[in-house]
Point group: C2
Chain length 329, copies 2
């Protein structure tokens, strides 16, 4: 059993706690918030009374071995530094950090203290992603992919009303690319590795951040297009193309259908299995396995994937002039 | 009634003749083929006995006012030159020509002889394309589009067997971009005008031509991605995105559904009407209207659209090193 603390008290944290505890391998044991009241209220949902209003106190809490971080993106780096220095494993929500420099600093710190830093790329731990990955060779030569994650966010209403929610704020290292684009990007990187180059046609919204847009990843012999947005909705499935057929996937997260469409016969074959009931359960299971088993090789592979993804988003933001506040100081 | 001749005796020509005659405004009156037998056989299907094995004879046939050309792409230019010189209107299958120079030469010739040269971009004449076009302003600010025309061609089996069908041959100015990519490209140009720039991630097949791939058109403030292929199949719909919602279209040709999906309410509204029974009927109707009414303005708009499209495909081929035989000589 891994006792863990959490930073962030929103819906995603509640979802992670539920999913993690459902595996039987994690137990929430401490809650951090700047306000004690907020931490207490969140803890009460899970019968947890240990609360911290200081990150150092959380980092030095002897009852926990790990911390899950789901705060605004721009805070990840400072918070993770403190927690890693307390020799706790860190599960950090995507995007792990705002910049490559922050990313490398945190991983160096994790190594120094002998703990794991794991970015919560939950979708690539899903059973149906792994089924797709294992069956990819059925396509023969890869001809490309079209990955879609585009859903109008109710918070975009706030933008249209003149406000700047964190998620659409460059002050908080926000924008659709790093918030949601990282899902299809890491999906592509997990399947095909590092692209040769990339480009982005963003929709720049009133806050100055990107509300969504079209990303192209260029590989040797084929391309991958990604449609990622929080300011418009797409109904399109995601697809991977090859000489022998097409894999049609309902989405890049919460994957429920992995349908092989044979190029010549046009016949369909469904490969998906029933996924975990809670949508962060598969990653919680894998992260517990890595931490309890000390599987440094698996952690290293995930680290390398995260490194490629932040390299891509950093390059795309540079091309488009999307500069975070943290990069200006 | 416009009496017309045809060059090309394949399924697309038969389809055009059926569609054109169904409008009640066109009558097939002569058939050209290099072999008299082939021309006679084709003519017999439509009770037409006038056959020509010489292009000059067709061009000088006093019984016809127009010629429909649906030969291999690389032959369009020479054939159209002869027909236009005989002062006949020309309906030319897409892609009109292999190069921009050929395109400009033909249009200069058409003007010189006082006839129309019309490229058969049938889809933008469809009723449901026009419904989309008229309702585009419902989206508010445009945020992008994803256009799909990707269907595995049985002729790709021949490529895999080591053959080089015309449609996949650079000798015959073939490849997926000019054969089928021009549909979504002209769709985008008809809606949004000329893009600022474009790029292409092609799948280069055994013949050296492009079997398909991903095209990006960059406009001010948004992008359009096009997935066009004859070597793999996509099941995705086409979509146009905006601040107020998404238009979901079943396809970029033979459009049967134009569904408006409201961004905030998520409600759907179907705008499509019943399309013409025969799929080239709407263009045949419009081309008859232009020719009989002498609508030079409408012809000029179509010419300009064709000019932008061939400019785009020429630039994309240049970027990717896809050189036609006609460009080497």
């Amino acid at each position: 059993m891994i006792n863990f603390g959490c930073i962030g008290t929103g819906w995603i944290t509640a979802s992670f706690v539920d999913s993690a505890q459902a595996t039987g391998k994690w137990k929430l044991a401490a809650v951090y918030s700047r306000k004690a009241e907020t931490a207490k209220d969140f803890g009460a949902k899970f019968d947890v009374t240990a609360v911290h209003t200081s990150l150092e106190a959380l980092a030095n809490d002897g009852d926990i071995q790990a911390v899950y971080i789901a705060s605004p993106n721009s805070l990840h780096h400072e918070q993770a530094k403190i927690i890693l220095s307390g020799k706790k494993h860190v599960i950090i929500e995507k995007p792990a950090t705002s910049t490559v420099a922050e990313f490398e600093e945190l991983h160096a710190l994790a190594k120094e203290h002998g703990v794991f830093l794991l970015e919560a790329n939950r979708h690539i731990q899903e059973i149906n992603f792994k089924i797709l990955q294992r069956n990819l060779s059925r396509l023969g030569a890869i001809y490309g992919a079209s990955l879609t994650y585009a859903s109008y966010s109710s918070r975009y209403n706030n933008v249209l009303a003149g406000e700047t929610p964190n998620i659409f704020s460059l002050e908080y290292s926000g924008g659709a690319l790093v918030d949601l684009g990282v899902y299809p990007i890491s999906f592509a990187v997990a399947l095909f590795g590092k692209p040769k180059s990339q480009s982005y046609s963003p929709v720049i919204i009133a806050t100055g951040a990107d509300g969504g847009g079209l990303i192209t990843l260029r590989y040797e012999g084929f391309g991958v297009v990604i449609n990622a947005s929080k300011c418009y909705t797409s109904t399109a499935p995601s697809e991977v193309y090859g000489e022998k057929g097409t894999f049609v996937i309902n989405a890049v997260t919460d994957i429920e259908r992995v349908t092989f469409l044979d190029a010549k016969s046009k016949q369909k074959e469904e490969l998906a299995k029933e996924k975990a009931k809670l949508n962060l359960q598969e990653e919680a299971e894998e992260f517990a396995r890595i931490i309890e088993g000390g599987d440094g090789e698996a952690a290293k592979r995930l680290e390398e994937l995260s490194r490629i993804v932040i390299g891509i988003t950093t390059d795309l933001r540079r091309q488009c002039g999307l500069v975070f506040a943290v990069e200006k100081s």
